[in-house]
């Protein structure tokens, strides 16, 4: 036996051992093994690092027409929103104000999330009807309207994980709660010093549906 053959054999043995040692046994023998085609059809998510982004590309130049036709009805010609449908553009610098405006441009931390959401859920009522390229084109148009990329920038699976969104550092981890360090289970029971002055009544705001009271 040549040294090379012996090497290959021992390598195969190692793989065999790894497989049998670490891959778990099926316990109940229920369910079916999924085929690659089945998984590919449903596995549509795209992660911030671009993992899962399908092969394709698009520019804002191409996206304008699709957006105007399929999106502007609810989100406005320039992403400013319509009626109660959300705006997609604007709101930069508003997050610390009294009236924060959270749009894809001002708030969303990752371009991948815009792609993921539009592909899976838009247009509203006709989900997963866009092609990969159409989705890249719409995302590119939104990013262009928020001054994040140029009009001719080719957004694709190769670079969607590298787009820097303005609010990428706007999120805090981990969750600091419980953030109210009040009384360790023994709150004041008698003669507590609290204000009992009424400073507002829901009745005066008068936005409760009529049916109620």
């Amino acid at each position: 036996m040549s040294g090379l053959v012996r090497f290959i054999l021992s390598f195969s043995l190692i793989i065999f051992l790894v497989n049998t040692t670490f891959a778990s046994e099926r316990k109940f023998n229920l369910g079916q093994i999924a085929t690659k085609e089945e998984v590919a059809g449903w596995d549509i998510d795209v992660r911030p690092d671009g993992l899962g982004a399908p092969i394709g590309s698009g520019t804002a130049l191409l996206g304008e027409e699709i957006y105007t036709e399929g999106c502007a009805g609810c989100h406005g010609d320039f992403g400013e929103g319509a009626d109660r449908w959300p705006p997609l553009v604007g709101g930069e610098g508003s997050l610390a104000s009294h009236d924060p405006e959270k749009t894809t441009g001002s708030y969303w931390p990752y371009a991948s999330t815009i792609y993921d959401y539009i592909y899976r859920a838009m247009p509203y009522g006709d989900a997963q009807s866009l092609s990969y390229d159409e989705t890249y084109e719409i995302v590119a148009y939104l990013l262009y309207m928020s001054d994040i990329i140029e009009e001719d920038f080719v957004l694709s699976d190769k670079n969607i994980g590298e787009i820097e969104m303005p609010n990428k550092d706007g999120f805090l981890l981990p969750d600091p709660r419980p953030d109210i360090k009040n009384t360790q289970g023994n709150p004041c029971m008698i003669n507590c010093q609290v204000s009992t002055k009424i400073i507002g009544k829901a009745r005066d705001i008068d936005v409760t549906p009529e049916d109620d009271n």
Partner: protein, 429 residues
């Protein structure tokens, strides 16, 4: 002679009942007040010493209602929404009528709804749950497969992270239902994910799960693997019957104690990965904006909370004398340990009685008898959970989080009882 008289009475009763029903249907659903009249106004001819018709004549036989419904006199006990909150009913929310419920279980038809793309209607034969990514075997399960795994039956509350979200800046909605009703509590039947995953195996690098719904919003949330293996369930039944369509039929994810948005309905897929997926629902939504413009992310746990369900804006006090104050308390961190009640706006507190069962991450019923002599009251309740966390005031929350968080408002509410017995949602300060 006596018999004739009796017949006259019952005939007139019949006419009255018919009139009442005609009257009720012509009023229709104009207002809750009229519905309440229907259930609250007694007909003197049915009262002692008279004989009501239901005592004399046969009622409906079996099978008139093959699936039983509440009494016609309970027509006001319904989910309600606030239309101006959202752009469309398919991506919207309604509210559980907590003020009309007893005990700690929410009836299936009254569990609040929150959809992002409408209710998916799924033939259970067409249901598939796919598990892919960092598992030893990528697999697909039918509903029948799931039902053959070891089973678990557990009560859990489900609360939307935005419950009370309209009350951050001030008292806005005048109702227990509208300010606390994005919560429900049912018994789930399903398979623990820790059991299901024995079939697929997990790769060592698997740290996060993407849970994905099959509705037209393709709802997706990332959940850390520790939580998935701790107590998460794929459930197909609630309160002993199949999930209601609006609650995810035929199967949903149950994420005990954590915000409702993560309990993906109409579940179709679990993908295991080494990092979170940072979907729309955990970046642009369900993140808590602070005054400095930064937002907290992955704020999953629902902190301890309580509400007085009666008296409440929908449940005024109708007479002087003894009453039973009723309420609900819950915590995403475990069991409720104690609930205190104040009738003077938080100056003095009395501990309420907790009603068994007191279960972890479940609604818990509390009551406290009180005597009302027509004076003004400022009612508050304060939950303490087994971690000794005390439900905060809105002032305590605002000091740390400002007023633009939308989510996770678990503060103490105040109901003002006026001298006429009417109850209002008010803000103290």
């Amino acid at each position: 002679m006596r018999k004739n008289k009796k017949n006259e009475v019952s005939n007139s009763n019949k006419i009255n009942r018919r009139k009442l029903l005609i009257g009720a249907s012509s009023i229709g659903a104009i207002s809750l007040a009229s519905k309440n009249l229907l259930s609250q106004e007694a007909n003197p001819e049915n009262l002692p010493p008279n004989l009501p018709e239901w005592t004399q004549y046969l009622g409906d036989g079996v099978d008139v209602n093959p699936y039983g419904m509440p009494s016609e006199f309970e027509g006001h006990v319904i989910r309600r929404n606030v239309e101006w909150l959202t752009a469309s009913a398919e991506s919207s929310v309604n509210f559980t009528p907590l003020q009309d419920l007893e005990g700690f279980v929410t009836p299936n038809g009254l569990c609040f709804e929150r959809h992002h793309g409408g209710v998916a209607i799924i033939n259970p034969q067409d249901f598939r749950l796919m598990i892919n990514g960092l598992v030893d075997r990528e697999m697909i399960f039918t509903l029948d497969d799931l039902k053959r795994f070891p089973q678990t039956n557990k009560f859990y509350f489900l609360e939307c992270a935005a419950n009370g979200g309209m009350e951050w800046k001030g008292s806005q909605l005048n109702g227990c239902q509208y300010t606390f009703g994005m919560v429900h509590n049912v018994q789930y039947t399903g398979v623990k994910l820790s059991d299901l995953l024995l079939e697929t195996g997990l790769k060592e690098k698997a740290k996060w799960v993407l849970a994905e719904g099959s509705d037209s919003s393709g709802m997706t949330r990332s959940i850390p693997i520790e939580k998935i293996l701790d107590d998460c369930i794929i459930a197909w039944a609630m309160n002993g019957e199949a999930l209601r369509p609006e609650q995810g039929y035929p199967a949903r994810l149950v994420v005990p104690g954590w915000e409702g948005n993560m309990w993906v309905k109409w579940i179709r897929r679990l993908e295991f990965g080494d990092k979170p997926y940072l979907t729309r629902e955990e970046t642009s939504k369900y993140t808590d904006l602070l005054t400095n413009g930064k937002a907290r992310m992955f704020t999953w746990v629902m902190d301890a909370k309580s509400v007085i369900t009666s008296p409440s804006p929908e449940k005024p006090i109708l007479s002087k004398g003894v009453h039973q104050l009723r309420g609900l308390a819950w915590s995403g961190r475990g069991k409720i340990k104690r609930v205190d009640v104040s009738i003077d706006g938080g100056k003095n507190w009395k501990t309420a009685q907790l009603h068994s069962p007191v279960l972890s991450k479940s609604l818990t019923r509390f009551t406290l008898p009180f005597e009302w002599n027509g004076e003004e009251l400022l009612l508050q309740s304060r939950a303490i959970d087994e971690t000794n966390y005390v439900q905060p005031t809105i002032g305590e929350l605002q000091k740390i989080r400002g007023v633009n968080s939308i989510y996770h408002n678990n503060s103490i509410a105040t109901w003002l009882v006026s001298k006429n017995g009417k109850v209002d949602n008010v803000r103290l300060g």
